[in-house]
């Protein structure tokens, strides 16, 4: 299946409705669309003031493109979009959007999980949680 890959590393927010409309205009043969959104969450035992996301923008973009191409090789997808934000974000702000679209749902679901797993530890972003009493660089479990 011919696919479209869109990748952005950006400060600005993304609009889920606009992304859906844009996808619809470009995917005629796909019946399944999976949206994954990662957002800023509060801490367990402190109150988050903000989340600072640092990025190595150029490398992040090329690493994300690479994983999208790998996903396109592995699953039959018509559309892959990844937008990852950086900068200072507050509680509940969007961080990352992964959209995958395929003829049937399984490919879109599996590719979404695959891309997100890779994004967690292979793309140069770093999160710092700044709370009332603490400041911590987030570490992967």
């Amino acid at each position: 299946m011919k696919n479209e890959i869109i990748v952005a590393v950006q400060k600005i927010d993304f609009d889920l409705n606009l992304e859906m409309e844009s996808l619809k205009a470009k995917t005629k043969k796909a019946g399944a669309v999976v949206f994954f959104v990662g957002k800023v969450r509060d801490l367990e035992d402190d109150k988050l003031q903000y989340l600072e996301i640092e990025s190595f923008e150029e490398l992040a973009k090329s690493q994300i493109k690479e994983i999208c191409k790998n996903a396109a090789d592995r699953w039959d997808l018509e559309y892959i979009l990844v937008k990852h934000r950086f900068g200072r974000l507050k509680l509940n702000d969007n961080i990352v959007l992964v959209v995958t679209s395929s003829k049937h749902r399984k490919n879109a679901y599996d590719a979404s999980v695959y891309i997100m797993e890779y994004l967690k530890s292979n793309v140069p972003f770093w999160k710092k949680e700044v709370a009332n009493k603490t400041q911590n660089w987030v570490e992967n479990p």
């Binding site: 190595f56 490398l59 090329s62 997100m116 292979n122 140069p124 770093w126 992967n140």
Partner: protein, 85 residues
Amino acid sequence: MGKVKLKYFSRIREAIGKPSELLEIKSNNLLDLIEELQSMGEQYSVLKGRDFVVYSAVDQNMVTDLKTSIEGATEIAFFPPMTGG
């Protein structure tokens, strides 16, 4: 080797105290470069990777083998484990 732009991110940037610097370096591979930087000051000891794994990218390509040649490189980046998503 000539002048190379060194970039530092996250905890490494904080430990070294700057996001980047342009330096005249003598080393031909990353391992030697880390040694060379450490001889310049205690702040560079973070690159030894005692507290966390240190990742590097040469001209925006991720490198895992520290013995990889850096001859002709114009930009070398050091950073801690990534936490995207």
